[in-house]
Symmetry: C2
Subunit: 369 residues, 2 copies
Amino acid sequence: MEFKLIKKDKHSKARLGKLKTAKNTIDTPVFMPVGTQATVKTMTPDELKKIGAKIILSNTYHLYLRPGHKLVKEAGGLHKFMNWDGSILTDSGGFQVFSLGRLREINEKGVTFRSHIDGSLHFIGPETSIEIQNSLGADIIMAFDECVQYPASYDYVKEAVDRTTRWAERCKRAHKDTKRQTLFGIVQGGVYRDLRLKSASDIVSLDFEGYAVGGLSVGEPKSDMYEILDSTVPILPEKKPRYLMGVGAPDDLFEGVLRGIDMFDCVLPTRIARNGTVFTKQGKLVVRNSTYARDFSPLDKECDCYVCKNYSRAYIRHLINTNEILGIRLTTIHNLHFLIKLMSEIRNAIDGDYLLELKEEFFKKYGYK
Amino acid sequence: MEFKLIKKDKHSKARLGKLKTAKNTIDTPVFMPVGTQATVKTMTPDELKKIGAKIILSNTYHLYLRPGHKLVKEAGGLHKFMNWDGSILTDSGGFQVFSLGRLREINEKGVTFRSHIDGSLHFIGPETSIEIQNSLGADIIMAFDECVQYPASYDYVKEAVDRTTRWAERCKRAHKDTKRQTLFGIVQGGVYRDLRLKSASDIVSLDFEGYAVGGLSVGEPKSDMYEILDSTVPILPEKKPRYLMGVGAPDDLFEGVLRGIDMFDCVLPTRIARNGTVFTKQGKLVVRNSTYARDFSPLDKECDCYVCKNYSRAYIRHLINTNEILGIRLTTIHNLHFLIKLMSEIRNAIDGDYLLELKEEFFKKYGYK
């Protein structure tokens, strides 16, 4: 993997970059759709390409449980298994083990937990996580971290930060084929500024090819997240890509980019789509509401996606109202297109040094304060 | 609408035709995918086109209840509402009123029934059915008939046959814009040969633009269905299209075509797809079974559809096993492609006078006795 910094915004910490993997070249800042179980829910890889997706995220925890990383390896790796020839990033499983796994027990070795599917007992530690991710074969893989829930005490977060650093070191050691797969380190530290700073410098000292800020957008106030980014991002090396994990609301994309973040992922666009909610330039719209039963206009008049060019709110509302799968396919395509397009507008704005103006205009229209 | 008979098979009653609607020209014999609620389940219109679908069926009963035919009319008609510029045939609602409606009460006027969705009270008679179908705006519409369940007494079926004829006459009278929409009559008569013959001549005497054989494939033995076709089809005018309603298993397509049928529709391919079952040239395959967990071959090695070119049984099995929508999207595409392709092979065989050989070969491989 190569990361090339192309340009820095004159008025903020925003930056343009190019991330080159073995598969393709990705313009950053980039939003990565989430394909938890080796599929971005409801979408084919072809559809993802059409809306401009070049990199997707998939979840180690889920693929480890079903269908199993060994099966994926037998299939020729995740790309081949799911028919996606763009780039893939896999998370480490850390986040899911802590949020989905039951009866989890953490010690220095790793985490023992019960599957959320059938209650069976499993163990993932730094070495296992890397082994699973090696089998899956994503282009970018993540260090196994402890993602602490919010709120958590200072003492506990401190302990988790130190453990995360020790685990990161072990991940680095366990990961052999560094040419085929690039390993990113993850900064933790909850909402505690000094722990974030400590975690950032500890992880940076281990020298990874990229850095993620994890453990944010887990329930803390948005202002806390922005402050953490303000203090943490400057510690990360300028020439390496920076990834804000699990963040993808339109305002957060702007705020992250303005603070120097290059990569984002989030289930938000696909999750709300399945609930009948879509992004528009005028704010969120719950198209499943009966208000739209006779509304023959597109989801978003300003949008040029396949859905907005061909279908009305009334039709999509009917599909969702009658539980027809095409309904949530259309809202999903639209929502992912919306965020991917927004990122391209953001990149253009960085290029032209008008990102702050774009943000103001977008926020005003969208209804953000 | 125009129907042109192109060729008759030398060794059977099979025939090749061209059905020209205002939208397109359809080669017959043809299989019509079912889009019950203004969507062929899981599919976009573009995907339907790619697999060669030129005409789909949609259900009057369902669209009348949701979103309502007036709304569809306001949207500019069903084609525009669902973004399908191919041909559409709507059924009359008769079949669903009898199979889904609750507490139905039949009299000469029509049928009063309760919605299967919310129990609300509704009435559909011949004039209402035509009015609804006029609003929906399909290219081919059907007369409102009484589809008797199987088994039913001779006396009851006789009564229903006579009523169906009287209703057919009223449908013809109610349908004004015959240029925009073509009305087909429906032959009923259960499994009683003489009632079928009577129904056929009565309906034919009313002079429709096309004729359907209804009330088959409702639970009677297959041999009964074939016998009914043997006796009924010859009564239908040679120069008009003949449509066997609700039939679509591969063997029945062959048997119907061999007896002179031109059009078919069935929910079978899409329904079994959602249950994880697919057609292959070697017979049906339940891809959701764990047998296929590590089977990296395509659904059907002889198939050239998008799914078979890009995905393995193992991947599709994983998707269905984890309730991922892409799984049933892929099985649906494959199954519809399978039947549409089969019909094109059948047409080629009629053209080359080797349909009986194709049938024998297909049945043997598929595992039919």
